[in-house]
């Protein structure tokens, strides 16, 4: 069934909280029903937590906006129950090409090895992703969404966080044990708390023209520097479902952001690229961007995620993807703290891990921007020299930077990780996202699912000790790992055992199963290290 998610309008419904004599209490309130807020709320609700999600609007994203959803985000969506829908509807791609003038100078394959359930990227309009998340949210009875509910004041007090919420009727208050602010780049919660996100703005403007047409360009990311149809500037072309194509034209700082949105200005630019008029405009936007972040993402009982906490340029698809990864990093920690299964200080590790991830994203994004938008005559000279040399000098192709695309962060040095005591090779170090691998007809990440999991390489899963939070064990047998990909990616031998966090990052690993070591690593992974024995 086709749903036009962009045109959906949700009813404002009066909540009993508005008439209650006493201020209503909620364990956790998520502000903002975008991809990050929805993912956080779903993840919390899936773990049994009651969640209230507030959104000041009454519709989903208008316009395609974020379109590139990365492998790790798809794996998170698998855990949240919508991965298959996103991949089925989306356009799968792994390859990118970069052109200088008319000549191809560089190509890259983001997932050169097989044996992963999910591709490097799926392109899908943000309104579909939000729509699929919303459908999933609707199946969770402990998740309540209130549309047309605008948070206008935030007070962190002894009893919890008191939110003032404006509605089409009267304003009302709620008390929350924790608040997740996923309310976007202009975050009203951030503003209400007098906090700031700081960084740099780049002196450049870009035009997004999403067009509808029948075309047979391959499902690849194409990026031009200085093409004949848009001289002196860059252009990016991406395919989306429903015959929609994303074209992103660099305009320069002097471009008039209002005038450039007019169809009579946009259409000739698109025509110059395509060489024909056989298209319609779907969505047009002129933007400039900044790389910035809040100094800290946790402010007491209020925790910021996604664009509210940090911002990057769109080149590299690091905005929505890093936001969804914030959500999954935060949700399990918040759920454990609310259930009393972990100390409140576990939430500080969200701040440590995701601030570091934001810095990594900002670093990559800033480097790409410095290449695409040279900020001085000399950086322009080096950029042009790289593009010139890239034609015949292999080394220069590696310097061409049209966006380094989103990959998940490894939480190196995380306080939740147990350092290795034995030798291991490969990328699955403590803090890293667990790599996927085929297991007969199954996939390793699907088998992990959520919660804390002991991943054991051997004929049978070991009997796990009783722990808080509970631990499951899964085995990977040599028989089902026929190609040996799982063993290779985890550098596993018979007996090798990994402790995997609920967000599918590695917490600890050993060459054999040792219940005492597992307990100690679990204590550390939930922030109980140094508090004596776990239970």
């Amino acid at each position: 069934m086709h749903v036009d998610y962009q045109s959906l309008r949700f009813e404002y419904r009066r909540s009993p909280d508005q008439s209650s004599a006493e201020v209503a209490r909620h364990p956790v309130v998520v502000v903002g029903a975008g991809p990050v807020g929805l993912a956080t709320a779903i993840d919390l609700a899936q773990s049994g937590q009651r969640v209230l999600l507030l959104d000041d609007d009454r519709c989903l994203s208008s316009g395609s906006r974020a379109i590139c959803f990365a492998k790790r985000t798809l794996e998170i969506f698998d855990r949240l129950g919508l991965g298959e829908r996103v991949v089925e509807k989306g356009v799968t791609w792994n390859r990118g090409r970069v052109f200088h003038r008319e000549a191809p100078v560089y190509g890259f394959d983001l997932l050169p090895e097989g044996g992963h359930r999910r591709p490097a990227f799926v392109n899908l309009q943000q309104y579909y992703v939000e729509g699929f998340l919303l459908d999933r949210a609707g199946a969770l009875p402990n998740l309540e969404i209130r549309w047309g509910n605008r948070v206008t004041a935030v007070e962190d007090g002894a009893e919890g966080v008191r939110l003032t919420v404006e509605t089409p009727e009267e304003a009302y208050g709620v008390l929350a044990e924790y608040v997740v602010a996923a309310d976007g780049a202009r975050s009203p919660v951030r503003r209400a708390m007098g906090l700031e996100s700081r960084g740099r703005t780049f002196r450049d403007r870009f035009l997004i023209a999403d067009i509808r047409m029948a075309a047979d360009f391959p499902a690849e990311r194409w990026f031009w520097f200085d093409p004949p149809f848009h001289p002196g500037q860059s252009v990016l072309l991406h395919r989306q479902p429903d015959g929609v194509w994303r074209i992103d034209f660099q305009l320069g700082w002097d471009a008039d952001p209002v005038a450039e949105r007019a169809p009579e200005r946009v259409i000739p630019r698109v025509r110059a690229l395509l060489g024909h008029d056989d298209f319609t405009l779907e969505w047009v936007s002129v933007y400039t961007f900044s790389c910035l972040r809040m100094e800290r993402f946790r402010h007491g009982r209020v925790i910021f995620a996604g664009d509210a906490a940090h911002g990057v340029s769109p080149f590299g698809a690091r905005g929505a993807n890093s936001g969804v990864q914030d959500a999954e990093n935060l949700a399990w920690k918040l759920a454990l703290v609310l259930r009393g299964e972990a100390p409140d200080s576990l939430l500080d590790s969200y701040d440590a891990e995701r601030v570091a991830a934001a810095d990594e994203n900002i670093l990559h994004s800033t480097r790409s921007t410095d290449f695409i938008t040279p900020k001085s005559e000399s950086s322009r000279a080096f950029r042009d020299a790289v593009l010139d040399l890239a034609g015949d000098c292999a080394f220069a192709r590696r310097l061409v930077n049209s966006g380094r695309l989103s990959t998940p962060s490894t939480y190196g040095g995380s306080p939740l990780s147990t350092p290795d005591t034995e030798g291991f090779a490969g990328s699955a170090v403590p803090g890293a996202p667990a790599p996927d691998a085929p297991l007969g007809g199954d996939w390793l990440l699907r088998r992990l699912g959520g919660g804390f999991v002991l991943l054991h390489f051997g004929e049978a899963a070991p009997e796990v000790p009783e722990t808080v939070p509970a631990l499951r064990a899964v085995a990977v047998t040599p028989g089902e790992d026929a190609e040996g990909l799982a063993a290779a990616r985890y550098d596993a031998r018979p007996g090798t055992t990994y402790l995997i966090r609920p967000d599918q990052h590695v917490a600890a690993r050993w060459r054999r199963f040792d219940p005492a070591a597992v307990r100690a690593a679990l204590d550390r992974a939930v922030g109980r290290a140094g508090e004596g024995a776990g239970c």
């Binding site: 202009r186 975050s187 951030r190 740099r200 002196r203 001085s376 005559e377 000399s378 000279a381």
Partner: protein, 75 residues
């Protein structure tokens, strides 16, 4: 370790070739040639520690008098 001891067999030949490389070029053309040359040589050297030493020496004594085109942002 950056080698700043004599390493060119025929220094005058080298210097003549370097100037000849830029003969009759505008400042912009010369900058383009220099940028390509720097990239080619840096890749040839390959050793990041050596390159950082060379960059530091090249920058020595030059106080920035220009301004890059980015703006402080806050939201």
């Amino acid at each position: 370790m950056l080698n700043t001891e004599p390493n060119l067999a025929a220094p005058d030949d080298f210097y003549e070739a370097l100037l000849a490389l830029h003969q009759d070029l505008t400042p912009d053309q010369a900058r383009a040639v220099d940028a390509r040359l720097i990239l080619l040589l840096c890749n040839h050297v390959g050793d990041m520690a050596v390159l950082r030493q060379a960059m530091a020496r090249a920058r020595q004594g030059i106080e920035p008098a220009g301004h890059d085109a980015t703006l402080a942002a806050s939201a």
